[in-house]
Structures are given as C-alpha cells and as structure tokens.
C-alpha cells in the first residue's frame, strides 16, 4: 500500500485514463447503441439484418479479440488512429487511446442495443398504436413516444452495461494504454512484497467508480421511473 501512497500521482493519473476511457466510450456506446436499436426495430429489412448480424457477432466475441482487431486488422484496411494527438495537462491521448475507445464503444454498443431493445419491448403496445393513430411516421413514433419510455425502462440494464464497461476498460492495459491495471502491474513489478496492498488500492479505485455509477443510476431510475 505504501508504494501506492508514495506515488499517488501515478495512481491518480492511471485512474484518470480509466475514467477518460469510460466516459468517452460510454457516451459513444450509448449513441451507437441507439442507432443500432433503431435499425433493428425499423422497417428496412436490410438494415435490420445488418444490425442483427453485427450485434450477434460482436456480443459473442471476447473483448480482447475486438481490441486485437483494432490493433492489427484495422490498420490493414486503412483505419488508423494516428490522427489522434491530443495532450491535456499530463494526459496524452494518442493512437493507442483512440483504438481503445473505438474497441470499447463498438463492443459495448451491442449490449446497449440489446438493453434498449428490451426497453422498447417493455413499452406498452397502446403507446405506439396511439402515436401511429395521430399520424406520426416511424421516426416520430420512435423519437417522440417509444424511445423516451424505452430509455427509462432500460435504465437498470443500461447501468449494468456501463458498469461492465468500467471494468472492461482494464483490457486496454493489454494493448498498451497506461490505465489502472497497467499501472498496477508496474507497481507490482517494482514492489513485489507489497502485492496485496497494491491490489487492494487499485481494487478500491474500481469499486469507487462502480459505486458512483451505480448510485447515480439508482437515483436516476427513481427520478425518471414511469409511474
């Protein structure tokens, strides 16, 4: 534990990367997941099939392989993140970070899509029928009536998905992002005798993040629950 306390800066910076990965991929995954669910329940058969195939494939692929895809496969088809070169304070967001964000959001959005689809199914039938009866087209039915309710119904599973995302950011360590798990391994390598303390210190960091999100989700759910 002392090793971590003596170098609290490194610890906090590592969790800064974890947090940045989580926030950016979390937002992106919500947006992409919403698009996917609109495709999946929409009237265009080709899009429906494409979205279903994508979701089924990616959901069943281990995240490590999705990361490997962006590390080794994507460069071959000219998808690179070399354009990403942002430096804020002591944080450097470069190629590896971009690839990590892309992997995490493209992986997580499939779970967001499934959560939302369950949410759409939870909206009472009459809502969509009434919306159609007043003449709304598919886009109107979705954006004005169904999705707002679906989001509320889907809040608990969406929260689980986002909590899983916090923990999934750790996989970025395997692909060279200096986030918490990578930092923990560095600490453990240099201070092998303090292994347990270091482990607990980093576990606590994750637990704090998870509990904050879970608390916020519980509050939001209570507040926005459909009566």
């Amino acid at each position: 534990m002392n090793a971590v306390l003596d170098d609290l800066d490194a610890y906090l910076q590592a969790f800064g990367y974890t947090l940045a990965l989580f926030v950016i991929s979390g937002l992106l995954s919500l947006v992409l997941g919403t698009v996917l669910v609109a495709m999946r329940v929409g009237p265009v058969a080709v899009l429906r099939a494409a979205a279903t195939t994508y979701v089924t494939t990616v959901r069943n692929t281990p995240l490590v392989i999705v990361f490997a895809f962006f590390a080794f496969f994507a460069p071959i088809i000219n998808i690179r993140f070399t354009w990403l070169d942002v430096h804020i304070g002591r944080f450097d967001f470069t190629e590896l970070f971009g690839a990590a964000v892309a992997s995490l959001s493209l992986y997580t959005c499939t779970f967001v899509c499934e959560a939302l689809r369950a949410g759409v199914n939870a909206v009472p039938l009459g809502q969509a029928e009434a919306a159609r009866a007043i003449g709304l087209p598919f886009g109107g039915v979705m954006t004005n009536v169904v999705l707002p309710q679906a989001f509320r119904a889907a809040l608990p599973p969406l929260a689980s998905v986002q909590i899983a995302l916090i923990k999934n950011t750790s996989v970025a360590a395997v692909f060279g992002v200096a986030e918490a798990v990578a930092q923990m391994r560095t600490f453990t390598n240099s201070f092998a005798s303090q292994r347990l303390g270091i482990f607990i210190a980093f576990a606590i960091g994750y637990i704090v993040l998870v509990e904050v999100v879970s608390f916020a989700a519980a509050r939001a759910e209570r507040r926005w629950r459909i009566a």
Binding site: P43, V64, F72, I76, A122, A128, P157, F202
Partner: protein, 288 residues
C-alpha cells in the same frame, strides 16, 4: 410490445417504394463496405493460400482443438464449476437470518463483482508465482471463479426470492424446519428459474478466458500467438479464433434460450437487472 410491426403502419404504395429505395441504398452501402474490406485484405495479401493453409492442415487443426479450444473450455468449465459452488455458498449465506454471517458475505460479493477480472487474474498470477509453470492456468480459473461466483451468488438470491412466498409459508405450516424449507421447497424451484442465467454466465466466463492472454495462460489465445508467429498470418488466425469463440457462445446462448422456454416459460424471465447494485447474471458485456 411484441414484434416490430406495431411501430409502423402497414406501408402504402408510396412508402413501399420508399422502403425499397432505402433497402437498396442500405444494401449498396453494406456491400460496398464489405467489398472494400475484402479488397483491402486482398491487396495486403491476406487471402493468399499459405496464410490459410495451416487451418486445413490436420496436424495444426488438432493443435487448435486440443491445445486451444479444449484448454480454454477446461479453464471456463473449471471456473464455472467453482463459481456454482461458491455462488451457492455465498448466496445461501447472504440469505441467512444472522447478520454476522450476512454482512461479511455481502462485502465479499460486492468486492468481487466490482473488481475487474483482469485485476484479479494478475493478482492471482503474481501470488501463485509468475515464473512457475502452470500458474497462469490456475490464475485464470481462480479469477473467473471468484468473479462469476459473486455474480451467481446474487443470481441465486434473486432466484430464491423469486419463488412465490406462499411456497415457503406452506412449507413452514407443514412443520418443516428452515434447512428443510430451503433444501426441499425453495432451492429446487429456484434452480429451475436460475438455470438460464447460469448458462449466460458460462458465456461470460468463456469470453473472459481470452483475458488470460495478459497472464500468458494456455488456450485459444496462446495458440493464436503461436500460429501467427510461425506463419505470419495474424489476421486469418484472428478471424478463425474469433469464429471458434462465436460458434461456442452461440451454441451456449441457444441452450440458454431453450432452457428458458422449457423450464420458465417466456413470460417470466428472472429480472436480474434490479439485483443489488444493478448487475445481474445477464450477459452485460463480460466483466473484464
């Protein structure tokens, strides 16, 4: 809301024409993207026979199946077995009437559910000794057991609580004791409700075995490394390994759905999303 057809009217002639146009555009875009990917891969020489030959060579196929798939399944299987045992112990403990037992177990379950599996894996690996042979295998098994066990504890609790209250009341009225009520009445029904969630958890465990890469564990990810280092065919190997994972996982999800229909019926899947701090046994994206 069941079936997507309630979301839009039966299309009239103009809408049908418009949907056809959308379909056509969507089809063109999808095909164009796929064609571009295939073209780029072809250009990079990824479709050359010698990059794929290894996957039709019986000797290497045997290596992939025996040293890769079987090792991975062994890790996942052991972890799930351990997780079921641990889940039962923790889950029943959490349902105990005694606070002194309930609270520490609550802490244990929350801890292992909130900590990334990768973190557990690394810690287990260093603790077992990184230089000794075989420790990475057990590090993966231990990490997955602890995480999935904690999740299954919550699943079990939710399963027992999902059994209608009258069942326990009736059992007590017959004069059964606490243990008997749990063993004879509640548990058999709870297990039936839980079974699909347990299978979903198998998928999570199987996917997470791939994290073993970081602790140099055996299994598909090690075979992946060995093959591409020898044949310089990283992309084809990646596609094959991902394919193996996907096929096994799809088989498992199919099994889970079948069990769900067979044992629970489609109406009342166990609502695990409201369990504890809102992580259930659902496949929410693994939990690296």
């Amino acid at each position: 809301m069941s079936g997507s057809n309630v979301l839009f009217d039966a299309p009239g002639p103009r809408t049908v024409a418009r949907h056809r146009a959308y379909s056509l555009v969507a089809l063109v875009v999808v095909v164009a993207v796929l064609a571009w990917v295939v073209y780029k891969l072809h250009q990079a020489g990824q479709f050359e026979g010698d990059k794929w030959e290894v996957f039709v060579t019986p000797r290497y196929l045997e290596v992939i199946v025996v040293d890769g798939l079987l090792q991975t399944l062994k890790m996942a299987g052991l972890a799930v077995l351990g997780a079921v045992v641990l889940g039962f112990v923790l889950g029943i403990g959490k349902l105990s009437d005694h606070r002194l037992l309930r609270w520490p177990l609550w802490l244990v379950v929350e801890f292992f559910r909130a900590v990334p599996v990768l973190l557990l894996m690394i810690f287990a690996w260093y603790t077992l000794g990184i230089s000794e042979p075989g420790t990475s295998f057990w590090a993966v098994v231990i990490a997955l057991t602890l995480y999935n066990g904690a999740v299954l504890a919550e699943v079990l609790r939710a399963g027992v609580l999902a059994v209608p209250k009258g069942q326990a009341e009736a059992a007590y009225a017959l004069g059964l004791r606490k243990t008997q009520v749990m063993n004879i009445v509640l548990m058999p029904q709870a297990v039936k409700i839980m079974l699909p969630a347990i299978i979903s958890q198998c998928i999570v465990a199987l996917k997470d075995t791939a994290l073993g890469q970081y602790v140099l564990a055996p299994g598909l990810t090690r075979i992946y490394r060995q093959i591409y280092l020898q044949f310089d065919n990283r992309v084809p190997t990646m596609i094959v390994i991902a394919g193996i994972y996907i096929v096994v996982n799809l088989a498992l999800s199919w099994l889970a759905t079948w069990l769900q229909k067979r044992l629970v019926g489609e109406k009342n899947p166990l609502d695990l999303t409201r369990v504890g701090n809102q992580q259930g046994g659902e496949n929410t994206g693994g939990a690296a």
